[in-house]
């Protein structure tokens, strides 16, 4: 794998928006001039079932069309998956895992099957409920992985996302501000960086 490429694996549950967050990250990276891939685990969509999604972000075109087995970063959108899924499988110890949890990173490490790399947590539920009034963890998780991975320049990311939200939510502009606050707050609050 080329050093210019960052590989990210998302773990979530069907319906939580992990795939959407993965595609949003691809969008944001694309907007900043990168070559991107964003793709879900291939299969039927079943609410609540564990799902996986993947990003490749690179300065040069990437031709590989397989799942990602040795990611630089892992994002866990639902903490309960730590028991069910080997989320750190193949994860680069030089990289990091970002988990949606109100707990401190070191509290979760024992659940990570010996992973020695960096562990980060973000309370996406709290942030989402505070700014959106409902539990949509994907926006805070997106900001957290951008912050932790450094794959995108933060100010550019925020600006690109605002433009993207204006497009995506053209018919309901009232939610744009809440989503932007989610991003900004999440980048501030992510722990363990």
């Amino acid at each position: 794998m080329s050093k210019t490429m960052t590989e990210i694996r998302w773990h979530g549950r069907g319906g939580q928006g992990a795939k959407t967050a993965c595609l949003l990250l691809a969008d944001a990276a694309f907007a900043s001039g990168k070559h991107v891939q964003g793709f879900p685990e291939y299969g039927p969509e079943r609410m609540g079932a564990p799902i996986t999604a993947y990003n490749r972000i690179s300065d040069v075109p990437c031709t590989i069309h397989s799942n990602i087995y040795n990611p630089n970063y892992v994002v866990v959108v639902d903490e309960s998956l730590l028991h069910a899924v080997d989320v750190t499988a193949g994860l680069d110890p030089e990289g990091a895992i970002v988990i949606n949890s109100p707990r401190e990173p070191e509290e979760l490490r024992p659940l990570l099957r010996g992973y020695t790399g960096k562990v980060c947590t973000i309370d996406a539920r709290k942030i989402s409920e505070q700014y959106l009034g409902r539990y949509f963890p994907n926006t805070p998780m997106l900001a957290a992985i951008v912050k932790v991975s450094g794959v995108l320049e933060p100010d550019r990311f925020i600006a690109d996302m605002e433009a993207s939200f204006h497009h995506k939510f053209a018919t309901k502009p009232q939610v744009i501000e809440g989503n932007m606050n989610c991003l900004i707050e999440s980048m501030k609050e992510v722990r363990g960086v």
Partner: protein, 399 residues
């Protein structure tokens, strides 16, 4: 000027369809191709196309609608996958034998048994003898570019055959990647308008399409159809050359990747080619002379050209992403091995059936295949010729 974008393979096809603005779209959903009619329905609702969007009750009906529309003189398109294509089986032959240039976006997915919705090539490979042109894509860019070329090939008076533009279900259909789109006007100009010589509607001269064809005539018509398939080879290259002049991206029957001095090579179709290219770069850095032939055009099959591409290779693994259940290899192997029969010194050749029903294939997997080929070259022993790869096993497998 090309437009830098990021789209999934399905969006890429739907975008090409919007730009072309066909006369009729016969729509029936089936994953993973469902998004194509879904995006297109939005274009219809938004008034971005003038297409007659016909929602039907089955794929048999969607292809039948295309047949009726094409016979009437319209440019007709549809999209499907897997069981949907299988359900069209009867009418696929009607479309081809009636010489109707219909464009079908096939998002490849396995055929059921046991139930599975993931990618392999068993759907379109099952229809390989139906008389349709078949062009396959490695990624969303190629799916888009192939679609832009499809109608000029299919509608050419010396061809007049329907065409399948295939891409790997989920792997490219649902993956968002960078893509270069072309301007709407440039696409319209390149594709051109469809003015068939004969049509049921809008002409003074009467026409009968699809008549009963008794024994003294029918074989002659099938020979004409076979001849049209041969004619398609020149048209495919002509259209590709014009595409390159117009948009700058080069296409042929297949892509040769690092084949100039290759000693071991893969022959395969679709998205795995990209993974194989990454593997080749890795192996080349270690001094391994590895190459790849990525088949783009499977129907008509470029037999002489493939043989030429492989004539100096020592060992070849054909990678079939579908089972032929022939007991001796998949369809791509049968064609490729046959192509090499007339070579004075043909390469040693094995078939690796892989990736069935969505089984993933990573760079490391491809490397195992190349390593196996190197062993064949070293020992001079081909060993088993028909190998399955990627399955769990309680015994030692060849790969």
């Amino acid at each position: 000027m090309s437009i830098r974008e990021r789209l999934s393979g399905n969006e890429a096809i739907a975008t090409a369809m919007r730009q072309i603005d066909p006369d009729v779209f016969a729509a029936f959903p089936i994953t993973p191709s469902t998004e194509i009619p879904q995006y297109f329905a939005q274009y219809v609702a938004d008034g971005k196309v003038g297409t007659e969007y016909v929602t039907v009750e089955s794929e048999h009906s969607s292809m039948s609608t295309c047949i009726g529309a094409a016979a009437a003189g319209a440019r007709a398109v549809t999209a499907t996958s897997s069981a949907g294509l299988a359900f069209m089986y009867e009418v696929l032959y009607v479309a081809a034998s009636s010489r109707l240039p219909i464009t079908l976006a096939c998002v490849n997915r396995t055929l059921t048994g046991p139930i599975n919705i993931n990618n392999d090539h068993s759907d379109s490979m099952g229809a390989r003898d139906a008389g349709w042109l078949q062009i396959y894509a490695e990624n969303n860019q190629e799916a888009y570019d192939n679609y832009l070329q499809a109608m000029r090939i299919s509608e050419h008076p010396s061809v007049r055959l329907p065409i399948m533009i295939c891409q790997d279900g989920f792997i490219t259909s649902h993956a968002v990647e960078n893509i270069l789109l072309e301007e709407d006007a440039a696409v319209k100009k390149f594709v051109g308008e469809y003015h068939p010589e004969h049509a049921l509607v809008g002409r003074d001269r009467p026409l009968a399409v699809g008549p009963y064809d008794s024994c003294p005539y029918c074989m002659e018509h099938k020979v004409m159809q076979a001849e049209a398939m041969k004619n398609a080879k020149k048209v495919i290259l002509d259209v590709a050359a014009d595409f390159e002049r117009t948009f700058g991206r080069k296409y042929g029957f297949f892509e040769e990747y690092r084949m100039e001095d290759a000693e071991v090579a893969l022959v395969l179709i679709g998205s795995t080619a990209g993974t194989a290219k990454a593997c080749i770069e890795k192996l080349r850095a270690q001094g391994v002379k590895a190459g790849l032939v990525k088949v783009r055009v499977f129907r008509p099959f470029p037999m002489e050209e493939i043989a030429q591409a492989l004539k100096n290779v020592k060992a070849v693994a054909v990678m079939d992403k579908s089972e032929g259940y022939s007991g001796c290899g998949g369809p791509l192997f049968a064609e490729t091995r046959s192509a090499c029969y007339d070579l004075p010194d043909p390469p040693k050749m094995i078939d690796v059936v892989y990736g069935l029903a969505g089984r993933d294939c990573a760079v490391e997997d491809i490397e195992k295949v190349y390593r196996h080929l190197l062993k064949i070259v070293e020992t001079g022993e081909t060993g088993p010729r028909y190998i399955h790869f990627g399955q769990r096993s309680n015994q030692e497998e060849v790969l």
